[in-house]
Every structure is written in structure tokens, then in C-alpha cells.
Amino acid sequence: MSGKTYILVGGPDCGKSNYIARLWEAVRSKTGTLVATITPKRIKFVEDALEHLLMGEFVPRSSPDVEESKGSFEVSLRRNGDATGPPSDIIVPDVTGELWKKTLETSEIPQEWLNSLQSASGALLLVRVGSKLNEVALDWVTCAPLLRRRAKLRGRQEEEAASKQGKDGPVDGSTALPETSAGETDAGHAVKIPTQIALCEFLRFLEHGLKSEAGGSRPRVAVLVTAWDRLDPEKRVQGPMAYLRKEYPMFAGRLDDIETLEVKTFGVSVASGDLDDPKYKEEFYKKGLHGAGYVVTDEQPADFLPDLTLPVSWVMNT
């Protein structure tokens, strides 16, 4: 714990708002490994989110129209019981998942976010179980017609070019296809980014941007699989890495391969169950938010650990 900052990233609907709200409650109430040193200056966003959870509702998705989202949140944390030493800050950059998605598509990143990234010593990367926005890997059924259409289009363009210029001059392959914007197929469809590719790309950005200590240990990235309670119990007991291997094999492969970052996977549930299910909601009201929520690790996949600050504490511990 030495005055460093850590950032939280993830695509749309990754469970960021819910996790941050739940984390805020955990550090404020000083029930976990990490506690808030002082009440942060700007807590409107996280308080609004927490209100939903306390009422037994998941935080609704941030509006995609809000460019300058008020979702920026910073809190200073220290170890529970350790009053000495500089606190570390966890920062949720001022961006929605939609804006991160845009960065994926264009590689452009606003200066302030780049600054947050480059001054961070570690990160938490979130992906949600069962999110409707999760894009599955492409398959032949989708791709074959797209490629055939493209080949046809190229063929037609080449014929037109050949008949216009005759056979003189070398063909250099730069046939001009109809102009489309970056990220569009020739049929005008936006190129989809499968979730596992998005996750690999996020990891690449983190690899590029996170600060590493001179001669020190590698930056840590905690991968949080949120809404862990939505998985069947048989799948849950295999742990978060097994889930990633099954659902996002490319991303799991990358996590196994990466050497520049130290990575660890966690399963996280903010409320221990589905708040949209009226039956569970009743149960939830009985125990309250402080009695709900857990974290699982690959080492102990069957144990529901009640300390929601665990992933953050792991990222911060060097």
C-alpha cells in the first residue's frame, strides 16, 4: 500500500456499477480486508447506485447517451487495522462500457483516460455471466456468406477495372472497393467484436499502459467474472478460470500465456442471487446487503468468501 492507483475496466453491462456500489458499502462499513480512509469527495454516483442495491434492485445500466458520465469514482483505501502507511486509490475512470467499446473499435482514447491508465499500477477487468451484450465467437454460418459477398464484389470491381484500362500496366491489387468506414463490412454491417476478443484487447491495452515498477514486480490484473450466482452450481464449483476456458477459450488462453502482467481470476456475486427474482428478493431483505455478496477463487471454488474487497486487495498487494 504505497500511494498507488488502480483502475476498473470492462465493456458494456459488465457489472461495473453494481460491483463498485457493493465495494463502496464493504469499505465504508469496514467489514473487509480494505477500508475507506476518508469519505471520498464525490460519492453521488456510487451512492445512487448503492441505493438501488439496498432497495433490492440491481443498478440499472448507465444510459448509453451519457458521454460525460458521472460514473467517475475514487476512493482511498488502506488495510483494515493498518492505520499507518499511505493509502492507495481505486479509480473508476469517467467512462461507460460503451465508451470503452468505442476505444476498442478505433484505438483512440481520450487523454484523461490515457492518463488514468498510465498512472495506474494495476487493474480489475470485469466480464458478466449471461450478459445479453456478450458477443459469442464467430462461426462459419455467419462468416461464409460475408466472405462470399466480398469475393463477388471484388470480382466485379476487377472486371470493371480491367475493361476500363485494358491489359496495360501491372495489376497492383489496389482495386477500390466501395468506401466504407472503418469497422464496416462491405455490406454495410458494423463489424461485431466478440466478447473474448474485446477482453484480449483490453488486456493488451492494460499491458501497454499500466505502470510497472523499475526492477519490481509485474502489474497485477484481477479478472472478475461478475453475476457468478447465475451459473449452475455444477459449473460454479469448477471455478472462474474453468468458466473462462469454456466460454471464452481465446481469453483463457491469453491469460495462461501472458508474461508481462500477473493475472488472477475471481468469481464475484454482488447480492448472492438474482434480485429480479421475487422469491430471492424476500430472502435478500432478511439478510440485508451486508449479509449478501461473495467472492470465489480458483483455489477454493466451492467457498463463498464474504469479503468483496478481496480482488482489490489482491491487485494492491505487491
Partner: protein, 330 residues
């Protein structure tokens, strides 16, 4: 706006009246000023650029320079991929990518790729690396795709439990192969001299047609000749027959090719692939792709003994050799 004039004493600039009693607008002596639809004599200062966001490193195709950097850091298996347009080059790359994405390439799993967005876009039929981007996006790219340079895709795969192999795979337009054959246009194919293996894509559907196969085989023979002239010491060649889902190409069709290659001392193998097709067919989508990848293994050289045991020589001058400890004697 001043209306200048080349004629001496003409005061049209001040009075608007032409000394030659011509209409100011049409008088031939008038100096044209920029405001009247004529091009300016000095160029206008460029518009200030709109403020730009910084960019993170992209994952589009690698330029040869970027590929060279990777090669300096770690051994890259460089695959040359040639063939006529529509022979199936891009299809094979897409099929490989889709198999890997779904963990369906037996014996291999994904470890990394520096060109994920290129793979993703190519899979969805989007722009190739060498198409020109619309002008307004020019300034976003630090390296503009150059139609004279090849673009490379990168893939690191784990083979088995622990072996990792990095592949560099070019996605070249078919026209480059045609131009190479027809005009010996090989400037941009120089990288082939460093290839570990060369895949020559051939359209299986055309090879299955009696009227077409002669031409396809002939063009491939020419391509191989060109390659030999370019490269000299040839790496292994793989004849990759696409569209296997439509049926198998009988080996007799390729006999003229393989026999000629064998006579010339070339190492040639044949793999039939189906990049796409029906899941229920005999040759499912991805058929042959793993065999294709297996052709890329860098050859392990034969293990030679460090000191060949020739026994003591009467005029042996290499004194150190006298002090070898022979295993039989110990």
C-alpha cells in the same frame, strides 16, 4: 476586395472604372484576386487539425517493419501464402481463426495475437489491409497501409501442453501472385526468401473439373518456377487444395506437378482443406486445417555427433583430438 490591374495607370483598384473601358470582371488586364473563384496564387494556409485523441497501439495487420521487430524478439514461423484470386487464401486464414476462437483446432490452443482486429475484420468480410481508408481517417493511423507492402497476421499458438509457436501469415491479394507469374513482379514478395514454408493455394473446385484443371496445374508450375528463381534454396512447399467440401481431388491430377517438383529436388506435400461448408458433410468446416498447420513445424535438424569418430590418423595434426576419451575405453 481590391481589383488589381496590370495596366499602367489603371485605377480600377480605387475607382472600379477600367481605363480600357472594359467590364472589370472580364477585362483581360485585370489581376485575378482569390475572392472571385480563381485559384489563389499562393496556397491558403492549411486548416488547423481538429484536436485528436491519442491512440493506443492497434491490432491491425503488421507492416513488414513491425513483423521484423517481432522476429527480433522471438522466433516467428514465416508462412508464404500464394495463389490466384479466389483460390481460398483468405478462407483458410478465416477458418483457422474460427477454429482457434472456438478451441476446435485439435492439439492447438490460442496464446496470443498482435493482430486480433485484423483477423476479426477479415473474418467478417471487412476491408483488407491494403484497401485505402477513407481520407478523413488518414491521420488516425500512424502507418498507412501501403499497397506495395505486404501485411502480416500474427498468431501464437500453444501446441500440446507447453510448446508455443508464433506464426506470421501474410494475407496477400491474389493479384500479387498473378503479377508475379505474368510479369515477375517480385519486389514486394522478397520476404518469401525468409519463409519457413510456402503454401500454394489451388482452387479444388476447378481441379475437379477436367476442362479447368490443366490450366490450374500449369499456372502453379509457373509459380513454382518463379519461386525457385526468387528464392534459390527453397523451403518446403505445400499445395493446398481448397473447397474439399465439394469433393476430393484425385492425386493423379497433381501428378505432373509433384513429379516435376521431385525431379527438381523440391519438398512438396499436398493438403486438401474445406474452410467452410456443411457441418454434416464428410469434410466439415475446418477440414484439413490442422494438417495444414502441421506443415509449418520448423524442421528439427538431425542430431550430428560433435566429433565424428574416424579413429587415429597417421598424420593427425589436431593434437587435441588425441585426448578424446573414447567411450569404449572407459
Amino acid at each position: 476586395m481590391a481589383l488589381g490591374c496590370t495596366k499602367d495607370n489603371c485605377t480600377v483598384a480605387d475607382t472600379g472604372i477600367c481605363i480600357a473601358e472594359n467590364e472589370a470582371a472580364t477585362c483581360p488586364f485585370r489581376i485575378k484576386t482569390p475572392g472571385e473563384g480563381e485559384p489563389a496564387e499562393t496556397p491558403e494556409p492549411p486548416l488547423s487539425e481538429p484536436s485528436q485523441n491519442p491512440t493506443l497501439p492497434h491490432s491491425r495487420s503488421l507492416t513488414p517493419e513491425a513483423a521484423a521487430k517481432l522476429m527480433a524478439a522471438r522466433y516467428q514461423t514465416l508462412v508464404g501464402i500464394l495463389g490466384d484470386p479466389d483460390a481460398g487464401k483468405t478462407g483458410a486464414l478465416v477458418s483457422l481463426f474460427l477454429l482457434i476462437s472456438r478451441a476446435k483446432l485439435p492439439g492447438y490452443s490460442f496464446a496470443d495475437s498482435k493482430t486480433l482486429s485484423a483477423f476479426n475484420e477479415i473474418s467478417q468480410g471487412a476491408l483488407d489491409w491494403d484497401e485505402n481508408d477513407p481520407p478523413e481517417q488518414f491521420t488516425q493511423h500512424t502507418e498507412m497501409a501501403d499497397p506495395r507492402k505486404p501485411g502480416f497476421l500474427h498468431l501464437r499458438l500453444r501446441r500440446g501442453e507447453s510448446e508455443k509457436i508464433d506464426f506470421l501469415l501474410p494475407d496477400l491479394p491474389g493479384e500479387w501472385s498473378q503479377s508475379f507469374i505474368d510479369e515477375d513482379n517480385n519486389e514486394r514478395l522478397q520476404f518469401l526468401r525468409g519463409a519457413d514454408v510456402i503454401w500454394i493455394m489451388m482452387d479444388g473446385s476447378r481441379l475437379r473439373q477436367a476442362s479447368m484443371r490443366g490450366h490450374v496445374v500449369h499456372r502453379t508450375q509457373l509459380l513454382i518456377s518463379r519461386l525457385r528463381e526468387l528464392i534459390g534454396d527453397m523451403p518446403p512447399l505445400v499445395l493446398v487444395l481448397s473447397r474439399r467440401d465439394g469433393g476430393e481431388v484425385p492425386s493423379s491430377v497433381l501428378a505432373p506437378l509433384t513429379e516435376e517438383a521431385a525431379k527438381d529436388g523440391l519438398r512438396v506435400s499436398v493438403v486438401q482443406i474445406a474452410s467452410f461448408g456443411d457441418e454434416n458433410a464428410e469434410a466439415k468446416p475446418g477440414f484439413g486445417i490442422v494438417e495444414l498447420m502441421e506443415t509449418c513445424r520448423p524442421e528439427v535438424p538431425e542430431l550430428l555427433p560433435t566429433w565424428r569418430d574416424v579413429g587415429p590418423q597417421p598424420d593427425e595434426v589436431r593434437s587435441m583430438m588425441r585426448y578424446r576419451v573414447r567411450e569404449q575405453q572407459s
